[in-house]
Amino acid sequence: MNLKKIGAWTAIAVGVIYFIVPLIGTFEFSLRMRRGEYSLDAYESVFSDVRFHATFGYSGLMAVLTIIFGMLLVVPTAYWVRLRLPQLRPVVEFVTLLPLVIPAIVVVFGYLRIYNSSSYLPFTASERATDILLMGSYMMLSLPYMYRSVDTAMRTIDVRTLTEAAESLGAGWTTILFKCIFPNVMSGVLAGSFITFAIVMGEFTMASLLDRPAFGPYLQLIGANKAYEPSALAIIAFLITWVSMGLLQVVSRFGKARPART
């Protein structure tokens, strides 16, 4: 084995140790709730907690709504930019990247200033309205991933020609978008959806400062007050992310197996 290979393997080993060892440690600790033996007591405790179900369900619902409304915003936008405003693509890409460079806490304070109960748009005046505001903030957070996934999927089809073909056959915009374009960028939409799901399930700042019962603040609350349950929750949160990533891989491969030739 030459020096180059040894270096590569060392780098991989360091990376694996850096990521895996803490995870193993956390998992091992989550099994030690019962004194002197390994058990799943911490997981049982977590799953029997009513607040776990409530917050998990709330975040799950928010994630689904974020994905639906995010898709309805992103797919037509990416389509329109690609079809009619290609010169605006760099601007739109820059805007969609902003959530990565502006900290969530800055954004949420902006929301609280603009949408507080005494403003013209009092989103924080009621719980349902705050939920809508929170969903909007999640849509913004997922924008860099959702837009890129959809835009990349659109690159694989000839959007302009497909649109013109559908128009020549009498189709209007809604039919074109939902029957000709949407199904052909589904792999991108699903990829963006899984990332969005993972982001929403673990998000803390927005939900906490808008005072909504989401899974992120619950994780923090348990972490501050209990010993073993936080480790179990950390493993559960990782599992959610991994399942999302796994599904993303499956969807990507499914997309590659049937290339869209135009």
Partner: protein, 355 residues
């Protein structure tokens, strides 16, 4: 009144005038080809008829109805694209049925039409295949069936054969023409391939720099090109600068040798220089009877093209090419040997410079 009329149609993109005052009248059931090099405006005219490009000025009518300002989905014009443009998420059957579903036709009628269209293109057995499971030729035939399924008033074909290999191109173009004749549908075919245009069209529009240089039957376009551009773009041609020696009798001098023309003599009046065009197949090696034109020179090059030998004869400043059938019993002419070329007066074409 013609079925499809384009009157004074112009199209500009900013300061660039892509189509300049285009006029054309097409009869119902005609097969018209727009022929020209890349960037001549042929596809832009087609896209204006389809409604994908707005018209800067002028009008487009079909059956007397002005559709200049109608949206593409309101025109009932079928279009076949170079890139096939089949919907990748739909099967062959679903692709063909798409326009009928959009029009809200009953399912039974859709099923019958889809079957009829697929039978027309001989692909009924591939109804459940997806586009990625088809060859290029099959995809284009499905695209044709899809465009025809809605019973369009006009069928537009935008270089539909360009992405296919040579053999498929020939068979598919014959198939397109046969289907067009069968259905009697008014068709406009855009191509830059002169052989394609000559072989399947009722009339050809030769386009150059946003204008129709000449509109005519393939026979007229090939044999009597009106401009130098048409002459050089359609077929192989010898273009020779001539000097009008005697306009009244049609005598022209090429490289100091006299040539007589019997066509377009009126155009020679008042000019000292002209452009003479000669098709290689109209010229023969050797002398002929009285009345024919003769030019003498030396054989400069002999190219073997299989069934044909192309011989280039150097006159003085200019060379002239001629085609002769390959006869295995006769030795090909030798390079450097003196030669006389002969052509009839009727074959001397005097072409105009483009306006």
């Amino acid at each position: 009144m013609a079925f499809l009329e384009l009157s004074h149609v112009k199209k500009s993109f900013g300061q660039v005038h892509v189509v300049k005052d285009f006029d054309m009248a097409i009869e119902k059931g005609e097969f018209i080809s727009f022929l020209g090099p890349s960037g001549c405006g042929k596809t832009t005219v087609l896209r204006m008829i389809a409604g994908f490009e707005t018209v800067s000025s002028g009008t487009i009518t079909i059956g007397g109805h002005d559709l200049t300002d109608l949206k593409p989905n309101q025109r009932n014009i079928g279009m076949v694209f170079q890139a096939y443009a089949l919907f990748p998420n739909m099967t062959v059957g679903q692709n063909v049925a798409f326009g009928l579903k959009v029009a809200g036709k009953p399912k039974a009628e859709i099923d019958v039409t889809v079957k009829e269209m697929l039978d027309l293109i001989h692909l009924g057995h591939l109804i459940d295949r997806f586009p990625y499971q088809l060859s290029g030729g099959q995809q284009q035939r499905v695209a044709l069936a899809r465009a025809l399924a809605i019973r369009p008033r006009v069928l537009l074909l935008d270089e539909p054969l360009s992405a296919l290999d040579a053999k498929i191109r020939v068979s598919l173009r014959e198939e397109i023409r046969s289907i067009q004749r069968k259905l009697g549908i008014t068709t406009i075919f855009v191509t830059h391939d002169q052989e394609e245009a000559l072989s399947i069209s009722d009339r050809i529009v030769v386009m150059n720099e946003g204008r129709a240089d000449q509109i005519g039957t393939p026979f007229e376009i090939y044999n009597f090109p009106r401009t130098r551009f048409v002459a050089s773009f359609v077929g192989t041609l010898n273009i020779l600068p001539g000097h009008v020696a005697d306009g009244a009798s049609g005598r022209i001098e090429i490289d100091g040798q006299a040539v007589h023309a019997c066509r377009d003599l009126a155009r020679l009046t008042g000019r000292s220089a002209c452009t003479v065009a000669l098709r290689p197949e109209a010229i023969r090696l050797g002398t002929a009877g009285d009345g024919a034109n003769h030019l003498t020179g030396k054989i400069e090059e002999v190219s073997f093209l299989g069934a044909v030998l192309r011989v280039r004869v150097r006159l003085a400043d200019h060379a002239i090419s001629l085609d002769m059938f390959n006869n295995p019993g006769v030795a090909p002419p030798e390079r450097g040997s003196p030669a006389t070329v002969t052509f009839a007066r009727e074959d001397v074409l005097i072409v105009e410079e483009a306006a």
